[in-house]
Amino acid sequence: MLSFALTILLDGISYGMVLFIISVGLTVTMGLMRVINLAHGAFAMIGGYVAGYLTQHGFEFYLALVLATLVSGFLGGLCEMTVIRPLYRKGELAQVLLTIGIVFVVTALITEIFGAFPYRVEFPTYLTQPVDIGFRTYPAYRLFLILVGGLIALILWLLIEGSLYGAKLRAAVDNAGMARAVGMNVNLLFTATFIIGTAFAGLGGAIGSGILSLEPSYALKYVVLFLVVVIVGGEGSFKGSFVAAMALGIIDTTGKYFVAAAAPYLLYGAVFVLLLWRPQGILPPKSLA
């Protein structure tokens, strides 16, 4: 019984880690810049396809991951400086539509280049097999996800809580006007944050492709999931999105296990109830709480 509960927990956490790695960038940018960015999934998809292309063409797996992360971050930065920046002054509607526009363009380009079929990232063999973890055998891939996700969470936590960049970031999330008034270069901060956010999305898209599989419709299909993590966790709340991602992963997994018939409603039902109860999310940053 214990081993069974542990299995469900591992399944839930590993799934939650993928959601966390991809969504964490979105949470920070949405909290910081107040931009509804529906194109976030597109950057995750780009990272996935880059890693897929490289691994299929003989590149070493980890090198491919690094390159995928860099490409996503680079394109993200480019995007922020050209089309996202004018959005800061516009309303939600403009933000939703423009970022959907980006999704369409990226989806069309990916289909044109890679075709409509699903696309595969070649993982090293040791990640595609079950390993013995004492009480049972368990997919190595999922353990890998938990490891990487945990590492990223730790690094980000240190960065946000302990560095000057983090202090600035928290200040700007809480009150951008005040941050600007005390002489911070908020524009630069925005661009840097966007680059970091999309880079993580790219990494998540690549290593998470074993669960959220790559295909041209990826960007539109999963973006709702990423938004859910951000909104439920509370926009701009790093801890909130970690908690929300884990919670969603575990709820989804246990839900499917025990009430499979209700599985499709589970996610949206949970979101619906949660948001009616706490419209600002579970752990909103101070300025919003």
Binding site: L93, V96, I100
Partner: protein, 339 residues
Amino acid sequence: MTTLTPKSLPASGLGTMAAGQLSFVGHALPWAIAVVFFFVAGGYLSFGTQVLIWILFALSLDLALGYAGIVTLGQAAFFGLGAYAAGLFAIHASSDPVVGHLVAVGVTALFGFVTGALILHTTGVTFLMLTLAIVSIMFEYANQATKLTGGDDGLQGINVAPLLGVFEFSIFGQTAYVYALVVLFFWFVFSWRVVNSPFGRSLDGIRQKPARMRAIGTPVWRRLLAIYTLSAAMAGSAGALSAHSTSFVGLSVLSLVTSGVVAVILILGGIRRLYGAFVGATIYLLVQDWSAKVSPYFWEFIVGLMLIATVLFLEGGLMDLGRVGRNFLNRIRNRADVK
């Protein structure tokens, strides 16, 4: 249609023509085109019916999103509910299209009222996510409840009796077209009166400064609920038209894509001017029909670029092209004068 100048803008640059005359021509033009189309369309009549239905659907969104500033991605919930209600009513109760239509409108209005009452106190992304959640749950339900809805196979066996007992719905589509046109005209006149009433003006205020409106005693939440319910009823009406004219309801009426497309249509055409829906739906469906024949993924690419360009350069949608063009010409002329 782009020459049409909406009432809210000054009728500048058109010289001697009086504003009244101009607005009469402006109003008559789209309807005249719609009537003429009936006689010249031939095999394209059912395409015309689709355009009319999408116009009505986009019009419903214009009320909520354009006038009241309710940013929703769940409009397909009402369109789909209206379509299923009309279809199911035709199968299980009565095949009379008018009764079925009224029932569908009533059901969606009620649904809009209830969901609106639940979620309208939230704003921004939270509201957006709630509308997404509602439409997704409905989609999943319609997909699972194969006994009721036919699921992925769609709702089969809708039998529609002749309209008013006389006009049959045939493959030539005349009845469906006229029926859709009349319904659209009714809703348009209704919306026109609503947005130009004191109630409509107060929505303007709510959109721009809800806190201030609340401060001067406007019942903001109630006003929003009223317009949301009206918008739902109209979308349901469009859904019912779709079910009756094709005697079929597919799952896609409840998909997120449907919600997205209707927003795209409205934005392309121009929000907050009612006729934006006309321009948007016509151009969107025409370009889609044409470009899908040219190259597969071209269409998606073009729509994406159009969206980005509209947001960045053309805030009023395609209906703004005339004004933007005039401004541009004026600027060039001024520059020439300076030289």
